[in-house]
Every structure is written in C-alpha cells, then in structure tokens.
C-alpha cells in the first residue's frame, strides 16, 4: 500500500496530548469502579474500621434474595416502558414538527424545555401534581372513579415514575429524531409519492429504515438513562416505595449503601448493574447493529 504516513518525531508528545483524558478516565471511572469491585468482596462495618474478606458471599446472597430478583424485574418493566414511551413520543412529535414550515423553530424550542429541567425539580413537580391529598391529577381522576394514591398503590407509583422519567427524555429523543428526519432526502419520498405510495407507506418503508441509525443510538442512550440517570426522579417522587414497588436497581444500590450502610452488598449490586449494562450494550452492538442500515 502506498499510503502516506505521518511520522511524529517526538515520542512523548502523543502521550502528553491524551494524558488529560486518560487522567480523567482513571480518576473518575476506573478508580471508583476498582473500589466498588474491591469492597464487594469485603464485609465492613460502616466506619471502615474493620473488614473481612468474604469472597462471593454478597453476590451469592443477592441472587438468593427475592427482593433483589424482584427489583431486576421492576427495572426491566421500567426500562422498557420508559424507552418505548419516550422514544415513541419523541418520534411522533418530531414527525409532526418536521411537517411544519414556518413555526418549526418555535415548536422545537418549546419541546426542548423539559430537558433543561433538573431531574429532582421535575420529580418534585410530578410529586405535586400527583400528591394524593392536594394534587390536581388525583382530583381529576377521582371523577373518573380512580382512587389515586401512589403512596400505597405500587402500580400507580410505577406509572408515576415512568411518566416522570419519560417526560424528561422525550425532548432529547425529539431533537435527535428531528435531525434524523431532516437528513432523509426529499427526493426519495417525492419519488415514492409519484409512484403512488401513501403517507403511511412512505413513512414505514422509506423514512423509518433511514432513521434506523438514530433509533439505534437513541435506544442505547435511553436504556442507559433509565438504568442510571433516573435516580433523581425516583428520589424526589417515590423513594423506591411503596413496599419497594419502584425500587429499581440503581435506587437499591443507593438505599442499601447510603441509607442502610451495607457497603459490601451495595458495591456488589453496583458491579452487577455495571455488568448488566456492559452486556446489554455488547448485545446491542453485536446483533442489533447488523440490522441497522447506515
């Protein structure tokens, strides 16, 4: 091969240039991960005065604990519901805005606002709206014969956190879908229209396949979002309750570790959670990506 190669005479310079990124990765990612892995094999008192090596005991206990297995199930329900809901809404809104000519910018700006709201603030807003004694939604639902009390009803609590978590993520999905839609060549849809394809046919056979890279990217981002970033929303609304109905994995790591001071089990849980996400991402890239048309 006759390719031209750039040779850097200075051997140290490239390392120096990547050093800041490496340092950040080491300090903020590798080191804490290492610590979590380490303490998942130890039994420690809260103050860290004494610790004993207990091997895989914490992991073993986790998978024998019905509450933990429950939590995995709840996390799956939550992740699927939030991903489907927020991506579906994002796509519908993006398609609607994409058809607009003059007011598209106004709508895009308005639809982006929720993303700027901090998760805790959003959580508090939902908490107010759904508060069983003073909230507006339970009041309206009472006319429909629904007795809303997410403090006792686990299903309602789950609906609440799904809505709160999805609402925030719709903006993000909307923005990426809109950008994706705008890059679909006009000529293709026009040609299909001339051939007699209706708007639905055009959407499902031309637009959607061309959007698949965006959809795939958003899918990964959304699953990661539900697994990790929904902590603030849950902390501000249900705190994992009632009776652990909304205690998804990431919240359980927090409540067992920071409230319960059981650092060993909490570390083991965070390692398991990390492995879940690594495995999920691997599967996504390995198998799902093959079917994506770039």
């Amino acid at each position: 091969m006759e390719t031209k190669r750039t040779i850097f005479p200075n051997k140290a310079l490239p390392y120096l240039l990547v050093a800041p990124q490496l340092v950040i990765t080491l300090i903020f990612f590798i080191w804490p991960t290492w610590q979590a892995v380490q303490s998942s094999f130890l039994r420690e008192d809260p103050f860290g005065l004494a610790s004993t090596f207990v091997g895989l005991l914490h992991y073993q206990r986790l998978f024998q604990d019905p509450l933990y297995l429950d939590s995995i199930g709840r996390t799956a329900v939550f992740a699927v519901a939030v991903t489907v809901l927020s991506m579906g809404m994002g796509l519908v809104l993006a398609v609607a805005v994409n058809r607009l000519v003059r007011s598209a910018n106004v709508y895009s700006t308005l639809l982006l606002w929720p993303y700027a709201v901090a998760p805790v603030v959003a959580g508090i807003l939902w908490w107010f709206m759904f508060n069983s004694s003073s909230g507006i939604l339970p009041y309206m639902l009472s006319f429909a014969g629904v007795n809303w009390n997410h403090k006792l009803n686990g299903t309602q609590a789950m609906i609440l956190i799904i809505l709160a978590a999805s609402w925030k993520q719709v903006s993000y999905n909307f923005l990426f879908f809109l950008a994706g839609l705008q890059s679909v060549p006009q000529s293709l849809t026009e040609a299909a229209a001339i051939d007699g394809a209706g708007p639905f046919k055009r959407f499902f056979t031309i637009v959607l396949p061309l959007l698949s890279p965006t959809t795939f990217f958003l899918f990964i981002v959304n699953v990661n979002y539900t697994m990790f970033d929904t902590f603030g929303t849950i902390d501000a609304t249900t705190q994992g309750g009632p009776s652990q109905a909304t205690n998804i994995l990431v919240y359980k790591v927090y409540s067992d570790g920071f409230i319960g001071l059981n650092l060993g089990s909490s570390s083991a849980q965070s390692v398991v959670l990390m492995l879940f996400v690594v495995a999920l991402t691997f599967v996504q890239f390995r198998y799902v990506e093959r079917r994506v048309q770039y």
Binding site: R43, E44, D45, P46, F47, G48, L49, A50, T52, S133, K151, L152, N153, G154, Q239, G241, P242, S243, Q244, S255, D256, F258, I259, G260, L261, N262
Partner: protein, 443 residues
C-alpha cells in the same frame, strides 16, 4: 475627604482586629438534623454559647434528616473530614456503640478534659437508654422525646365530644374517631407520625411486650425480633380496618411527612407524634386549640400501661480531632447540661428535660402549671417501674429495619398481606439484617 479616609481606615483596622480575634478561637463543628423551628432554636443555643466565652466557636451545620446526617458523618469519617460533634438519632445508637474506634465516649472526654460530669443528674430513662453495659454514658443526651397524643379541641367540640376529655384507650380512639367522621367535624379521626416508632416500638413497650429477645437487644448482638405477637398483629389489623373506614390516615414512611399537615389543616382530629412536635404544632395550630394526652392503650391487654420509650437524638463525639477542639467540645457540653439552657430548650421544643435539675427548674418557674399538657411526655416516660420490655430498644442496622417495617405496613394497607403476614415478614427480614450486623461486628 480626610475624614472619610479616617473612617475607612478605622473600619479596616477594626476588621483586622476582629479577624485576628476570630483566628485565636478554636472552631468546633457540630453536624445536626434539626430543621424548621427546632433548627432555629438550636442555632440560638450555639450562638449563646459562643457569646458566653471567647475561646471556642461552635458552628452548627444542618445536614438534612437524621438518616442523612448519620450517613454524611460516616462518609466524612472514612474520608477523615468528620465533624467533632454529630447528632445521631436513637435508631443509630446500636451502630454508634459498635463503632468503638470511631467514637470518643463522652464520659471519657469529660474526664480527660477535667470537666464536671455527673451522670446521676440525668433522667433515669435517658441514662438507661444511652449507657453501655458497664453503665457509662457514651453520648451526650441532648434532645430526647417520646410520642404523645395531640388532639384538636375545636373539632372535638364540633363533633359533640367533651373537648377536655382525651381518648384514654384505643377503644376511645375508635369511638371518638367514628363520631368525628360521622358528624362531619373532620374527614379523618387520627393520623400518626413515625409509624414504626410510635405504633410498633412504643406500642410494645406500653403493653409490656418484648420487641426483641435479649432484653430488646440491650444484652447482646445475638438478638431476634419478636414484635409479630398477637397484640401487635391485632393493632396493625385494626389500623388497616380503620384506614379502610376512613377513621385513620396513613402519613407516609419514616417520620410520616404528611402527619403534621393533616393535623394542622384540621383534616385529622388527632395526631400521635413525638413530644418534640410541640413547637411545630403550637406554631401551626393558629385556628384551633390543641389538647395533649398520653398515648392510648388496649385495656384488655394491660390495665396499667408501662412507660413509653425514648426517641430523639444524642450528641456523639468523633475521634481524630485536636486536643483544643475536644476542650471546646467538653466546655460546650457542660454549657448544654446547665439547668437553664436545658430548661429553655425543653420548654421551647417539647423535648424532654434531660436533667432532673432542668425539670425542677421548670417546676419552680411554674412552667408546667402555666402550660397545661407540657408535662404529659415526662409523666408518661417516667410512670411506673420500667420492665425489660419498656427500657428501650437497641438493635444494629436499625435504620434498615425501620424501613422494612414501613414497607410491610404499606403492603398491609395496600391489601397484599394480612397484619400477621406483614409482621411475620417484617420480623423475618429484620432478623436477616440483625445477623448481618452481628457478623460485621463480630471481629
């Protein structure tokens, strides 16, 4: 112009002087969990101490709820950034007592610093709760409380009840609540804060029932919970029935965030909550008169209910600070134990007078006569002879255990379990946490 320069110069000079004075003072950090009216009062106590002498400055820092304060202190200790003093709630007592290397016991601190220290001056139930097996007090009792009943006299009157007669037994509570709800005087009969502490731990103590083996955990780590007895199951079952009938409203887990508001808004006519809610209740009950009474009991289970047990918090001193700071801590603790400081704190907040002297001072001042109901808590906690079941509870991992009990109660209210099933499951899950704690502290 010259005059102005002179003024500025003088101001700068005085600023320099004051900073140099401040630098000579030793700062003592105090992490606490008192919000609202209690927090304001606590800061006043610290400010008064700072004004009373010039060697030390106590800086109170609000760290959120009790559980959050404890967690922050532990995290800070691991990072070697701990405060000298931390306020830990009674639930954390087991954890703190087990953490021998992290804690500087108060009796030892006072002896090392040569400060006068007389444990006999403290109220007996308080001393009993916070002493190690050898009888040494490990943390300074500061704000101890016990649950009592608050009721809305105006609603009682509107419902056709005598506003001067509080319910004495649970049968009364039920009958009164029914009359209140049926007459439309209020939409709910009663609510409770701290469901675990008031309706389970204190309930067991009042009825002389063991909450756990080994003297409720006082005698060792190898303890097991026993609060799934017949009486507790009957009470939980009643709460469920009353909740379904609208006589009782559940106010949420932990402290029960909705309990106060439900009472203040006159939605619920009665409130069972810590005696330290007194300041908040008086502040918020603008449109109605409040009555105070001891907690109700089941007459067929016990004719003479036992004393109630302690809640609230004590001040723990953490290791790893300088000798000067500990000198300041000791001086501050002596100040806090003074009868007038104690009596002022107790009378404002509704916490118990910690020392006998503070209680006597209040009597001399005529405070209890002038404020009917203000001595309900102290009368309730000191009545009769305490039994092994009413001395208190001391368990490891107890914050988690309380969460478990909250969760099981929610499962009961949601209809997923019967009272007995919920309590059995709480005991089983609680015991697993106790074994975990025993194993972690065995070495």
């Amino acid at each position: 112009m010259h005059k102005l320069n002179g003024v500025v110069g003088l101001a700068a000079l005085s600023l320099m002087l004051s900073t140099s004075v401040a630098m000579a003072q030793t700062e003592v950090t105090w992490w606490h969990a008192m919000g609202g009216e209690l927090g304001t009062k606590l800061e006043e106590v610290a400010a008064n101490f700072n004004a009373s002498q010039s060697d030390y400055v106590v800086t109170p820092v609000y760290k959120g709820s009790y559980a959050e304060t404890l967690t922050s202190a532990i995290a800070a200790f691991r990072a070697n950034e701990q405060p000298a003093i931390v306020q830990v709630f009674e639930v954390g007592t087991g954890t703190m007592m087990a953490a021998r290397g992290a804690v500087y016991p108060v009796y030892q601190l006072m002896a090392d610093q040569g400060e006068p220290w007389d444990p006999a001056g403290f109220l007996a139930p308080v001393v009993g709760y916070y002493s190690d097996p050898e009888g040494n007090i490990l943390s300074l009792p500061f704000n101890s409380s016990t649950p009592i009943l608050y009721y809305n006299k105006n609603v009682f009157e509107a419902a056709g009840l005598d506003p001067e007669v509080a319910p004495r037994t649970w049968a009364d509570v039920e009958a009164f609540s029914r009359q209140i709800v049926d007459s439309g005087a209020a939409s709910c009969g009663f609510t409770t804060g701290w469901l675990t502490w008031v309706q389970t731990e204190n309930f067991s103590a009042l009825h002389d029932l063991p909450f756990g083996t080994q003297e409720n955990g006082f005698a060792g780590f190898d303890t097991e919970f026993t609060f799934n007895g017949e009486a507790q199951a009957r009470h939980w079952g009643n709460l469920k029935t009353w909740s379904d009938e609208g006589l009782f409203k559940y106010a949420g887990p932990e402290g029960g965030a909705d309990a106060g508001p439900l009472f203040y808004s006159q939605e619920c006519a009665m409130l069972m909550n810590s005696s330290a809610s007194r300041a908040g209740v008086i502040n918020n009950a603008k449109d109605f008169e409040v009555g105070f009474a001891p907690l109700p009991f089941y007459e067929d289970i016990i004719a003479e209910p036992k004393n109630s047990i302690i809640g609230g918090a004590t001040l723990w001193v953490l290791n790893g600070k300088s000798t000067e700071e500990y000198a300041g801590v000791a001086k501050f603790f002596t100040y806090l134990s003074q009868p007038d400081v104690q009596a002022d704190w107790h009378q404002f907040t509704g916490y118990l007078p910690i020392t006998n002297a503070a209680y006597e001072l209040g009597q001399e001042q005529g405070y209890y006569a002038a404020n009917p109901g203000s001595d309900v808590a102290i009368a309730q906690i000191t009545r009769g002879t305490p039994s092994a079941n009413s001395k208190g509870v001391r368990f490891g991992n107890f914050t988690q255990v309380r969460n478990v009990v909250d969760e099981e109660f929610q499962a009961l209210l949601a209809g997923g379990k019967t009272a007995q099933e919920a309590l059995d499951s709480a005991v089983e899950r609680g015991n697993a946490l106790l074994r975990e704690f025993e194993a972690a502290n065995a070495q």
